[in-house]
Each structure stands twice: as C-alpha cells, then as structure tokens.
C-alpha cells in the first residue's frame, strides 16, 4: 500500500501547519520526501546488509571445502602373481578407484574404474573379455573404448610398468 506523502496529507487537510507561508510549502515538501527517501535507503541497505551477513556465511558453510590432496602420479596396483590370466582387480589410485586387467595373452592394462556414464565402478568380465558396468550395462573394450550401452566417453587409460614382481600404474 502506498503511504501518503507529506504533500498529499497536507493537501488532504487543506492547510499546512508546518508551512509559514505558501511559497515555501513546495520547498518543505521536497525536503521531507528527500528525508523519507534517505531513511528508506538507510533502512533498505541496512536490511540488505544484514541479510547478506546472515546468508553469505550459511551458503559458504554448506558448500564443502576443497580438500587438497597430494596428487599421486603413480601407485603400486598389485603383484604379478595375484592376477591370473584373463582377470581384473580394482585398486586405489589416490582416492579414486582404478581397474587393473591382465588379458588372456598376459598383457597388463590399467584404466580409471569410474564409468564415464554416471560414476559407478566398472568390473572386468572374463567371459566376454570386456570391461562392464553393472549399473546401466555400459561396455568398454580392452583399450578402454566405450563399445556398448550408454557411456559417452572412453575410460581414462593409465601406463603400466612391471618392476620385478610389482605392477606400477602411472598417469600418462
């Protein structure tokens, strides 16, 4: 609802008690609306600042902090003896899962185990000799290429080196 300005209320009363003469009437009204506008401005900015002071910390609080981790470029994913031919295992690459595969011909391959579709963890399917995601039936070949189901991109491939018995996986 619009509140009546001083001028309007004065006009309503028909006379101006605060105005010594009619010529200064407009001047006083102008001063008064200016004062009102100034007070509204103070109140408005004060209220706005208070709301920002309340909600800014809350919004920052509910946003989880970025955890800075030592970037790991290589990791020992397992031992040669623990992987049979045509099998795979999940290993930890920092805080992400990776998949290490020993193909039927004995070759080692390693990829990110995070399905590019919707973040599930893939597995090796020995019967079909492919990488499979159980969540939405995504399929990848042994080069990490998405060959079936909904995944839109290939799996990230890692470099595999064997140092004696140890299998070392590193980012390309």
């Amino acid at each position: 609802m619009k509140t009546p300005t001083h001028q309007e209320s004065v006009e309503h009363l028909g006379e101006c008690a605060q105005c010594p003469n009619s010529s200064s009437k407009a001047q006083v009204d102008l001063d008064d609306t200016g004062r009102r506008r100034f007070l509204n401005y103070l109140l408005g900015t004060g209220l706005g600042a208070t709301l920002i002071a309340i909600f800014y910390p809350i919004i920052r609080f509910i946003t989880p902090p970025q955890v800075i981790e030592a970037t790991q470029n290589s990791v020992t994913a397992g031992k040669v003896s623990e992987l049979a031919l045509n099998s795979g295992k999940i290993f930890k690459f920092g805080n992400k899962p990776g998949i290490l595969i020993r193909s039927a011909s004995g070759e080692f391959k390693a990829f990110s185990a995070v399905c590019t579709h919707l973040d599930c963890i893939v597995q090796y399917e020995p019967e079909k000799r492919q990488i499979w995601c159980a969540c939405h039936n995504g399929q990848y070949n042994l080069s990490g290429q998405n060959v079936g189901g909904p995944p839109p991109r290939p799996l990230e491939e890692y470099v595999v080196n064997t140092r004696g018995e140890e299998i070392v996986v590193s980012k390309a």
Binding site: A113, D119, N137, P150
Partner: protein
C-alpha cells in the same frame, strides 16, 4: 468433575468447539469415484508410521561411514523387534510412495486441481518431491553397496544439470565423491531438514483441503450427488483402511524382511543386478536404453533434462488445463494415460532386464 465440565473448560481456553464444528460440517460426496478419496488419508497415515518408526530407529542408528552399517545390523539382529521396526519403516516408505502416486493420478484424472484448488495441487506436487527426497536420502543410511551406488548415480544425475549441477553435486555429496561426509549430510536431510519442510507443507495441504472441501469430478457436475458426513462416517471408513494397512505392513515385514546387503566399499565394482527402488526404475531403465549420443549431445544429459522438464510440468498443470475446454481436457487425459503406461512398461522392463 464430569466430562462436560472438562469440555467447557477446554472450549473456553482453546476453542475446541470450533474444531468440532468444522468436523461436523465437513462432508464427503458419494459417487462412483469416491474410492479415490481414501488415498490422500492413507498416504498421511503411512507418513505418520514413518515418523513413528523413524524415531524408534534413531534410538540406535549411528550416522557415520564407520558405524552406520554396523548399527543397522545391530538393530535387525540384536535389538528386540528391531527387524520389525526397520522392515516396517522400509515397507511403509514404499507403500507411501505407491499411495501417493495413486492419489496424485486420481486427482489428475478427475481434474481436481482446477480452480480454486491450484495451490492444493502445487503443495501436493511439492510433497511428491519431498517424498522422493525422503526415499533417496533414507536409502543411503544403511550404508550398503546398493545404497552407495544408488547415491553415486543419483547425485551424478543432479551434477549433469547445466550450470548449477556441479555446485549442487558437491553440496549433496559434501565433497567431490560419495563418502562418510555424504552419509552425514543425508542423515541431516532425512531426519531434520525434510521433516521440517514436510510438516509445513502437509499442514498447508490439509488446511487447503479443509477450506475447499472435496472436489467432485467435472463429469458428475450438475448431478444430484449424495453426501456423507466426514465424522464419523467417512473417518471410520478411513480407519478400516488404516487397520488393513497395519496388517499389510506387519505381514510384509514378517514375510519379506528388508535386506541389509553388504557394507559399502568405495573400491569395489558395482554388483551385477544392481537397480534402484521401484519408483526410480522407469527413469533408471530409460537411462540404460538411451543411446550415448543423440545428435551431438550426451544421451544421458538429454534424458535427465527431459525428466526434469517433465517434473516441472507437473507444477503448471492446473494453469494449462482450465474448465470449459473439453478438447484440452481430453489432451490432458491422453498425456496422463501415456505417462502411466510409460512408467508401468519401463518398470516391468526394468524388472525383467
């Protein structure tokens, strides 16, 4: 001091007479579609079962990645009737979603969202999303493998939304990955945030239903429709339904106790045969069948956005379908039938596949 003195004393101070007057005045139309009037009350009843059993579970549940699974295991193996309380909570949640869907579709097909009930419909759609939020957050709490992957996929879906997706994903997960931080957050949503919001919206929804009374389907308008007193006639019929529901819950909990599964492991492959709760199954199956690329867009992004738009469309139904336009009404009925058929068909395929 007799009962009448107590009643008068109370009426003087809290005005119980006016509540009784409202109950006396409320009437329910009796016609061939009256059966659908029971499903709102049934949903409310099952919600109250959720509140009761949820509070009981809180006495033992411990919300952290290290203790959550073990505490639920303790509830179902050691605590007396713990298996019953936990199973009733899970079953009642599922039945509540089912009755909510029935309630929503019956309101939809009977055009009960039309003027002056647009806000009742809006509050109801909000309650649908809240119920899904309850289901999604509660599903993670036992911290088992299925829950872990369901949460990974569900939050990743939120992350697909352009611009706001990534911050929303981090907000939901409490970080970049699904971890103990996610569990703690979901626990907070499930037992504090969502119940607080639900209390306000359920209150509004019920107040609006009282204010406008029950809607009579447009097809029956103008006919001489019989009325039934809400109290006690309709209320007692409601009560029979609720007693049957208690029986059904007890039977389901005893015959098909809710499984706990294996503890979540962030470094294990998703188990074969994994699938979400039935009410997410039609969306899950769609995401499974959608091709990876549609034109130059990621298929799953388009699928998820389509479901998002579909959900938002629910809000504006009462503003599009207005009385006096029978052809438009037929279009809405057809859309409703197609949606129901789609949900049913994809759910069945999801179960078979």
């Amino acid at each position: 001091m007799n009962a009448e003195t107590v009643r008068l004393w109370l009426d003087d101070r809290v005005g119980i007479g006016s509540i009784a007057a409202v109950a006396r005045k409320k009437e329910i139309p009796v016609h061939r579609h009256s059966i659908w009037y029971y499903f709102g009350g049934m949903t409310l009843f099952l919600f109250s079962v959720q509140v009761g059993t949820g509070i009981l579970l809180l006495l033992y549940y411990r919300p952290s990645a290290e203790t959550a699974f073990e505490s639920v295991q303790f509830i179902v193996t050691e605590v007396k009737f713990g298996w019953l309380i936990r199973s009733v909570h899970s079953w009642s949640a599922n039945l509540m979603i089912a009755t909510l869907f029935i309630h929503m579709f019956s309101v939809y097909f009977m055009s009960a969202y039309r003027r002056p009930r647009e806000m009742t419909w809006l509050s109801g759609v909000l309650l649908l999303f809240l119920a899904v939020g309850f289901g999604f957050s509660g599903y993670l709490l036992p911290w088992n493998k299925l829950a872990f992957f369901a949460t990974k996929v569900g939050t990743e879906i939120a992350g697909v939304i352009p611009v706001v997706g990534r911050p929303m994903l981090r907000f939901l997960r409490g970080g970049d990955d699904v971890t103990g931080a996610t569990l703690t957050r979901f626990f907070g949503f499930h037992v504090a945030v969502l119940p607080a919001i639900a209390t306000v919206i359920i209150g509004t929804h019920l107040a609006l239903v009282q204010m406008h009374g029950m809607s009579v389907p447009p097809g029956l308008a103008g006919q001489n429709i019989k009325k039934m007193k809400f109290f006690p006639n309709f209320f007692l019929r409601d009560l029979i339904g609720w007693v049957l529901a208690i029986g059904a819950l007890a039977a389901l909990a005893a015959l098909f106790p809710w499984e706990l599964g294996e503890k979540a492991d962030a470094f294990a492959s998703a188990p074969a045969g994994i699938r979400p709760e039935w009410y997410f199954l039609f969306m899950f199956q769609t995401l499974k069948l959608i091709p990876p690329k549609i034109l130059s867009f990621d298929g799953e992004v388009l699928g998820i956005l389509a479901f998002g738009v579909g959900g938002l469309m629910l809000f504006i139904v009462p503003f599009l379908d207005k009385p006096g336009k029978p052809r438009r009404k037929r279009v809405f009925t057809a859309i409703g039938v197609i949606v129901v058929l789609y949900i049913v068909a994809l759910t069945i395929i999801g179960y078979l596949g």
